[in-house]
């Protein structure tokens, strides 16, 4: 990948991640559902990867509609 910084949004469970994915898709914000990176958690799970520059936009879209646990650097 190019030198694009990514952050990942972590959720309480898979269903939250799916809901968030739907929201971002409708909002037209580029995202990718990926397995949670091992350096963040060893539990199985998926998270939403987005480019760093859109973190604020994503938080705005999700706020009040779906809860997220935290945002971490990829």
């Amino acid at each position: 990948m190019e030198a694009q910084g990514y952050v990942v949004f972590l959720f309480p469970s898979v269903s939250y991640a799916l809901k968030a994915e739907k929201i971002l898709k409708a909002a037209g914000i580029a995202h990718k559902l990926i397995p949670v990176p091992r350096h963040i958690s060893s539990d199985c799970g998926v998270c939403l990867r987005i480019t760093e520059d859109r973190q604020q936009d994503v938080e705005e879209e999700l706020r009040g509609r779906v809860e997220w646990d935290k945002v971490a650097l990829l």
């Binding site: 990948m1 898979v14 799916l18 990718k32 559902l33 990926i34 397995p35 998926v46």
Partner: protein, 211 residues
């Protein structure tokens, strides 16, 4: 009749298969092998076929095995399908020899696992994404049936497949399937292939990965 089989340099299970065939057609068979593993495997075969077995070690690592029909037939082998026999011909690999041959990944579905398609969609996306980090990297990915849908323009894993292709992974997309799903102009990763190449690739694989 005595037959001599030269099985030197041949990989398991070749020596055993050749020895077995020769035993079926000859009263006495001499098998030449160059490793202990083959000796052991043929010893087991002899037991199963109730053949007399003896082995002499010769120069340069050569082993000469003599198998003699005693006329007794192993009744348990009669009437069983070829695959049952092949299971029994399976080799004792000394120290877990690693198979050579390409690592081939089969994407036969655009879902992973059965029981829930929403979950299956998440899982296959995760799986394809992690292929990039696999060591050793897959040599080939084969997509057929709904698996071809992973290689089309709006696929969630298109970028992963394209990245894999950039890194030298050969991606085969079944042409019959593409045509059946009417996705002809939408394939965006890999190249269209046919059942001959697909079957050949699967047959020649060292390992087959099926998520």
């Amino acid at each position: 009749m005595t037959a001599t089989i030269d099985a030197r340099g041949l990989d398991c299970p070749q020596p055993v298969i050749m020895a077995k065939k020769a035993c079926e057609e000859n009263e006495e068979v001499i098998v030449l092998v160059d490793n202990e593993m083959a000796v052991e495997n043929i010893r087991r075969l002899a037991l199963k076929m109730a053949c007399g077995f003896s082995v002499t070690e010769k120069e340069g690592g050569l082993r000469e095995i003599t198998l003699v029909q005693t006329g007794a037939i192993d009744k348990t082998l009669e009437g069983r399908g070829p695959s049952a026999e092949e299971d029994e011909l399976s080799c004792v690999a000394a120290g877990g020899k690693k198979e050579t041959g390409p690592l081939v990944v089969i994407l036969s579905d655009n879902h992973m696992g059965r029981g829930d398609d929403v979950l299956g969609d998440i899982l296959i996306r995760s799986f394809v994404h992690t292929l990039l980090q696999l060591k050793p990297r897959p040599d080939t990915i084969i997509c057929y049936n709904s698996g071809v849908k992973l290689a089309v323009k709006d696929s969630a894993v298109l970028d992963d497949l394209q990245e894999l292709a950039k890194n030298g992974v050969d991606i085969l997309v079944c042409g019959t399937c593409v045509s059946y799903f009417e996705l002809g102009d939408q394939v965006a990763a890999g190249h269209i292939s046919n059942m001959y190449d697909i079957a050949e690739t699967m047959a020649g694989a060292g390992r087959l990965l099926r998520p």
